[in-house]
């Protein structure tokens, strides 16, 4: 894929905590408007990868480019400003603030007109959040909380959205309704990098997939290819 046609590109990213290296030379690309899933079992390093992209963890080496612009080593707020929205693992809402507060906080760097426009768009994507806008986030159901987490990140007006295991703790029916917004984001030109443990769920939502195992990308391909690839399941089972 050419530089201009790449929304997000990772080249040989190495990262970890203290002396421990978790990610070993991870490379991947995400095209504009694409939904790409990073599949991996518990502890494979998905969250670590997303933290490195989002600027919460400085990579030891390698490059991270957003539309060609190197962003590795920047602070998290600089990365947000550059156009990466992050829905962290575990949602990380502000339990005592209202839904409307979350949206306003997400959009606080936008001009007021743009903020109002984005807010309208969020209420269009998630009508239930409009009903709940004066409710504290801590009192919402799991699915509603996930919607708030996604809407809060989208309010930063990102070009790339990192969605870290949005399915955690949600009933299958709710997961499906959350994943239904992915095609809508695509239509708005937002590229999505999704992390997911569940193969079927991840592959059903994405155009392409990477399989992460012990911090290394071991397989990649289109979602339909990988859905029929025995090696994917073998990786999960540790064979």
């Amino acid at each position: 894929m050419s530089e201009a046609a790449t929304a997000l590109a990772l080249e040989d990213v190495v990262a970890g905590y203290g002396p421990v290296t978790i990610l070993h030379e991870v490379s991947l690309v995400l095209g504009p408007g694409e939904v790409v899933v990073v599949l991996g079992a518990n502890g494979a390093g998905k969250t670590t990868l997303f933290r490195a992209i989002a600027g919460l963890l400085a990579p030891r080496s390698g490059h991270i480019r957003l539309y060609g612009e190197a962003i590795e080593g920047r602070t998290a707020h600089a990365v947000t400003r550059a156009g990466i929205g992050h829905v962290p693992s575990g949602r990380e809402l502000f339990p005592r603030l209202t839904v409307a507060d979350h949206l306003d906080l997400g959009g606080r760097l936008c001009l007021p007109a743009r903020r109002a426009e984005l807010k309208e768009r969020m209420f269009g994507l998630f009508p239930v959040l409009h009903e709940r806008r004066q409710q504290r986030a801590g009192t919402l159901s799991g699915g509603e909380q996930q919607m708030v987490a996604i809407a809060r990140a989208l309010m930063t007006d990102p070009r790339v959205l990192l969605l870290d295991e949005p399915s955690t703790g949600l009933a299958p029916k709710i997961v499906i309704s959350v994943f239904e917004i992915l095609p809508l984001l695509k239509a708005q030109g937002v590229s999505v990098l999704l992390a997911e443990q569940s193969l079927t769920l991840g592959l059903s939502a994405a155009d392409r997939a990477y399989v992460l195992d012990h911090g290394r990308i071991v397989l990649s391909g289109s979602a339909s290819e990988l859905a029929n690839d025995r090696r994917v399941v073998d990786t999960y089972l540790g064979r």
């Binding site: 989002a54 919460l56 602070t75 998290a76 707020h77 990365v79 947000t80 400003r81 992050h86 829905v87 962290p88 575990g90 949602r91 990380e92 809402l93 502000f94 339990p95 005592r96 603030l97 507060d101 306003d104 906080l105 997400g106 606080r108 760097l109 809060r152 990140a153 309010m155 930063t156």
Partner: protein, 288 residues
Amino acid sequence: MLLALQLLCDGVLLGGTYVLIAQSLNLIFGVMGVVNLAHGSFIVLAGLFTVWFAAHAAINPLLAIPIAFVVLFGVGALLQPVLLEPLMGLGAQQAELLSLMLTFGLDYVLIELGLQVFGSSYVSLPYLQSTWSVAGLTISKSLLVGSAFAAALALLLSFWLNHTGFGKTLLAASQSEVGAVSIGINVRLVRLVAFAIGVGLAGAAGVLLILVEPMAAETADDFTILGFVLIALGGLGDYRGVAIASVLLGIAQSAVGFAIGGDAESVLPFVLLILFMALWPQRFRRAA
């Protein structure tokens, strides 16, 4: 009946003077996860400064409020990045322990500074020494003024937190640091501002407290413990709970003071602290 009303009235006013101590400590705690053990020494330094100021400048001691706030805001803004911020990257538990030790040390340094500059004796500020009689109740003017100003400043803080953009980012950072960072909030800056405002308000509280009770450099830790008890009682990071706790403690102290005596009244916060630590240790954990 009148006696009960009198005790209630004294208690509410006393509690009013506590609100600012507790909320300023709560602000620092909420955002940094640090109980600032030097809090009382900032209060006392401001109180001792006010006495000096009133003696030398011969103007209304309430004018010391903005001065103490601005100076201590500056002190907080200088100390936080140098002393506390480096600990913040070490993980919550490490940061909590090390910052406790650090603010404990800072407390000693500040108390020593107070002793060197202002001496060791108890001082008080003769200001508005008279009382009002309202419907049979006796109200000390200085207590009323101190309580009203402290409550007003605490309300102002609460308004700022809940109704301004920066205040909201501060609440957000205190409820989920990762969530705040994920939408581009500069949490370093938020922590710096929270600490500076917290210390600045401790200064304002010191000016108001010297109007109602004598102070010496050594009484610094009494205020720290008082604040600590109040946020444990009201809930860490819970501003409404802490405001209620302040008033309740004031009432309890005024009742105990009447029934048992002044010593029991002053020792009550310590007793409550020990009781809380023993019965509800989880109250001292950060609210999720």
